[in-house]
Structures are given as structure tokens and as C-alpha cells.
């Protein structure tokens, strides 16, 4: 990043009060941290004192004045994760890496951070490594997570695994389980539902690995069409009026078997819209 880029950023965001945070955010995005020379330049260009800018840069946790490592491991220390022993996990990471939270290993490989709640409390303690989520982390798993982080191998097959959450769902109406251990997808029991379209009705299987979409159907449905998903036991429809944030099609809603939330998927074939709404027992 050279001086001209910085000047551009400053120009774009304006030199007034409100622009400062936006400027720092953009610099941080470009450089991964806020280098001293750049802060001095920002001070000079915006006409504010360096002391002011330094104050803002050190006030917000989102800003870092130290370079970050190539990989970033964040352990959740939110309330839910905390009571499930997240502190122990952070200590274990600290010990394994020989650094404190907020620091980077001397070889510039790994930065250890703590965050306050990642919004997946029911699955805590949560650790996120380079965007990959690890649920129910124990101190024993720490070494493995660090190895995966260093080598970039997430998941047993070596392929990056985005959301390794296994979900178990049941029908929101009759409450019976929708899990079918007889047929597995991605090595885990599949979710079995009834799918119909234009009078054609058959089974449909959805992976229980949250974030995977490869569905199989008894009948081949054309791409980009909306299918009806319903319970194979009581035949009640899963469409409950909620809409997919990606494409606006109706969402099918199932209840998590532990009663602790809902799982929604888009009913349009080909759309990968889905979401997990934890802590919502009622539909």
C-alpha cells in the first residue's frame, strides 16, 4: 500500500470527524493492521492530532496496531462458551502457542484472539480458525485445530469444511424425527422428507451436516423451481411463510430435535439459502 492509496482512502471518506473510523477500517482491511507511518500520515492529512487518532485506534477492539499472523484463531469467550469452559481452551491455546490472546507467534504464523459470542452459543465452546468453525471444543482438540490451521486441512478428508455442525431435526407439527440413519450423506445420517411438485411426490434427502446442500430426490426436479417439502409422517407442510434471504422463495422450517431452535432451507431447487435459528423453540 503506498501513499497514494492512503490519500485516496482519506479523500473518499472525508477529513471530518465521522470519516476517521471509516479510514482506519479501510487501512486495516488493506494492511491487516494499522502501521505507525500510516497513522502519522492520516494525522497529517486530516489535520487531527496523532494523539487523537491513536486514541481511536486503541479504543476499538476491531483495530490492531500490531501485524497479524497468516492465520487467525479466535476462541469465543462469550457467556455461554465461558460457562462451558472456554477459558480453559484459551489457556490451552496460549500454552501451545506460547503467546497470550491478542498476540502473534514469533514466526508470524498464528494470531490468537478472543471474541465475545459468535452467535452459535448452543454449540459452544466455539473456536473459529481462518473462518472454519469448531463446535464443542475441548482442551484435547486444541492441538488438532492448530495442526489443521497450520496445514490448512479442515475436516478428515482434507477438504476445508465450512460448518462442521451436525444437526438433528424433527417435524414441527407431529414432533417425530426426520433423521434417517439408513442412508447417509457425507458420512452422516440424512434428513428424510417428502418433496412434491406439480403432483409428482417422492422422497428427498438433505445432508445433516449444516452448510452442505447436495440433496437427493426420488424424482429429478428441474433447476430453479419451487418444491413443496412436507413431513413423511404427518404430511404437514414445512413452508411456514418465511422467505429465503438469498432468493425470496419460501423456506421450509424444521425443528431441531433438542427443541433448541429451528433449521430452515430454501425450497427452490439450486438455491443454497439455509439458516439455523438457535434459541427459537416456538414456530
Amino acid at each position: 500500500m503506498d501513499t497514494k492509496d492512503i490519500l485516496d482512502i482519506i479523500e473518499r471518506n472525508g477529513k471530518n470527524h465521522a470519516g476517521l473510523i471509516a479510514i482506519l477500517e479501510e487501512v486495516q482491511e488493506e494492511c491487516s493492521y494499522l502501521p505507525e507511518e500510516i497513522l502519522r500520515l492520516v494525522a497529517k492529512e486530516t489535520g487531527r492530532s496523532l494523539a487523537d487518532i491513536y486514541g481511536v485506534a486503541t479504543f476499538y477492539k476491531a483495530f490492531s496496531l500490531k501485524p497479524k499472523g497468516r492465520h487467525c484463531v479466535s476462541a469465543c469467550l462469550g457467556t455461554a462458551c465461558h460457562v462451558r469452559g472456554a477459558q480453559k481452551i484459551v489457556e490451552e491455546f496460549s500454552q501451545e502457542l506460547g503467546i497470550k490472546p491478542g498476540e502473534t507467534t514469533p514466526d508470524n504464523e498464528i494470531t490468537l484472539e478472543t471474541v465475545n459470542c459468535l452467535g452459535a452459543c448452543a454449540l459452544g465452546p466455539i473456536v473459529v480458525s481462518d473462518g472454519h468453525y469448531f463446535a464443542n471444543v475441548t482442551a484435547r482438540k486444541v492441538g488438532e485445530i492448530l495442526r489443521d490451521t497450520r496445514e490448512g486441512t479442515f475436516g478428515s478428508d482434507g477438504a476445508p469444511e465450512e460448518h462442521p455442525f451436525l444437526i438433528e431435526v424433527s417435524c414441527p407439527r407431529c414432533g417425530r424425527s426426520l433423521m434417517d440413519s439408513g442412508t447417509s450423506l457425507h458420512g452422516h445420517p440424512s434428513i428424510l422428507v417428502t418433496a412434491s411438485m406439480n403432483g409428482k411426490t417422492g422422497w428427498s434427502r438433505i445432508p445433516s451436516l449444516y452448510g452442505r446442500f447436495a440433496r437427493t430426490h426420488e424424482h429429478a426436479f428441474p433447476d430453479n423451481t419451487i418444491i413443496q417439502l412436507s413431513c413423511p409422517h404427518c404430511a404437514s407442510s414445512f413452508q411456514d411463510g418465511s422467505r429465503c434471504v438469498e432468493c425470496g422463495a419460501p423456506l421450509a422450517t424444521m425443528r431441531l430435535a433438542d427443541g433448541n431452535g429451528v433449521f430452515r432451507i430454501c425450497t427452490r431447487t439450486g438455491c443454497e439459502g439455509h439458516l439455523l435459528d438457535l434459541g427459537r423453540a416456538e414456530l
Binding site: 492530532s49 494523539a51 479504543f59
Partner: protein, 223 residues
């Protein structure tokens, strides 16, 4: 003009005045710590609390930052105000017992005990030095850094500032270290102004005990 009553007395003040200014105009004493004429109000120490409003809606506000409002009813020494003020002084004593300013406040308001864990901070984060430096000295050499328990005063990156004028204004105004020389502990000094002035007083034998209470100081002319 804005009309309000303070302790039952009616007063009219110019628009834009604070409750503190109105009370001072009438001669009602309100203790202050982070307030200083000539610096923008900051509202950090809460020592200047007063009670506004009536009945269950009455609440405590810091008078140095509260603008005078039409019809406002202010009490500067109600039981609630006195209790809050004493508590604030007690907390200040807990963090900075060595400060002459805070000791004087405690004595003046009859605070004789201190029930909290004793600490010996050298700063109460009142922000006077920061405002002094930027508003009166036009230097902007020092500022707040970090937040929460990590919050501190100092120069950016903890290196000696290249815009500091070595005026000593920050030390002069500081209620915690007021005129106490920090040169014998350079790492604790805020701006190291003394270190750069090469003051003659440090040659004197009793230097260690003097703690720079000379007023006015013959060497550095601070105050």
C-alpha cells in the same frame, strides 16, 4: 435569557450556560475536579453532581456539562447530592490517595474513611491534561489510549512526542501529580518535560524529598 431556580432562588443566565455556571453566578458552591475555566467541559469526575427535577422524576446530573434549561429546578446540596458526592470522593481517594487535591476535597467534605481496595494510581483519567495540551497549548501531544481498565494517558506509541512544547501545562493542571516532579522516575513521566529542561534543582541534596512543591518554581517557572 434562560430562567431557572437553584435551591429555590430564581436566576436567569445566558443561553448556552451550564448549570454549574448558573450556580456559581449565584454563589452556591459546587465542588469540581475535571472542570476548568478555559477548557471544554468533559464530565469525567462526576464530583459536580446536582439534583434536577422534582419528586420521583428527580435525577442526578453533572452540572458542569448540563445546559441550563428554562424552568429547571436544581438542588446543589440535597441529601442525595451530598451522599453521591461523598461516595465519589471516597472512590477518588481509593484510587489516588496521594493527591493533595483529592485529600483536600476529602477533608472539606468530611470524608474520613475509605472502604474500598486501596490503589495508588497516578492518574484519575480526568482528561484535564489532554484538554490543556490541545486546547490551550495547541499541541495535541498527549491523549487517552485504550479503554476500560486499560485506559491511560500518554503519547501515541509511547514514544516521546515531537509536537510537545515542553510547557509543563499538563503537569501544572493535573490534580493527581500537580507540580510533583516525575523526573526521578522518567518512565512515569507524562511528557518528560522536566528531563529536557535540565533543571538545576535536581543538583540539590534534598531533591528526593522536595517532590517539587516549590511555588513558584524558580527553575522551571511552572506556576
Amino acid at each position: 435569557m434562560i430562567n431557572l431556580t437553584i435551591n429555590g432562588l430564581a436566576v436567569s443566565v445566558e443561553k448556552g450556560s451550564t448549570v454549574l455556571e448558573a450556580a456559581q453566578f449565584l454563589g452556591f458552591p459546587i465542588p469540581t475536579l475535571c472542570h476548568h475555566e478555559g477548557l471544554t467541559p468533559y464530565g469525567a469526575c462526576r464530583l459536580c453532581v446536582v439534583e434536577i427535577g422534582e419528586g420521583p422524576g428527580a435525577r442526578l446530573v453533572s452540572s458542569c456539562t448540563y445546559p441550563a434549561e428554562e424552568g429547571l429546578k436544581v438542588r446543589t446540596a440535597s441529601e442525595r447530592v451530598v451522599r453521591a458526592r461523598k461516595m465519589i470522593i471516597e472512590l477518588l481517594l481509593a484510587s489516588c490517595p496521594q493527591s493533595k487535591v483529592i485529600q483536600d476535597l476529602a477533608s472539606a467534605h468530611g470524608v474520613r474513611t475509605q472502604r474500598f481496595r486501596q490503589e495508588y494510581e497516578d492518574c484519575i483519567l480526568c482528561g484535564l491534561c489532554v484538554r490543556m495540551c490541545s486546547e490551550q497549548m495547541m499541541a495535541g501531544a498527549i491523549g487517552f489510549r485504550g479503554r476500560g481498565t486499560e485506559r491511560s494517558i500518554g503519547t501515541p506509541f509511547d514514544v516521546q512526542s515531537d509536537v510537545c512544547r515542553f510547557c509543563g501545562g499538563c503537569m501544572h493542571i493535573c490534580p493527581a501529580c500537580q507540580l510533583r516532579c516525575t523526573y526521578n522516575q522518567p518512565e512515569k513521566a507524562i511528557c518528560n518535560a522536566c528531563a529536557n529542561l535540565a533543571p538545576p534543582c535536581i543538583e540539590k541534596e534534598q531533591y528526593g524529598d522536595m517532590m517539587c512543591y516549590m511555588n513558584p518554581c524558580v527553575a522551571c517557572e511552572i506556576k
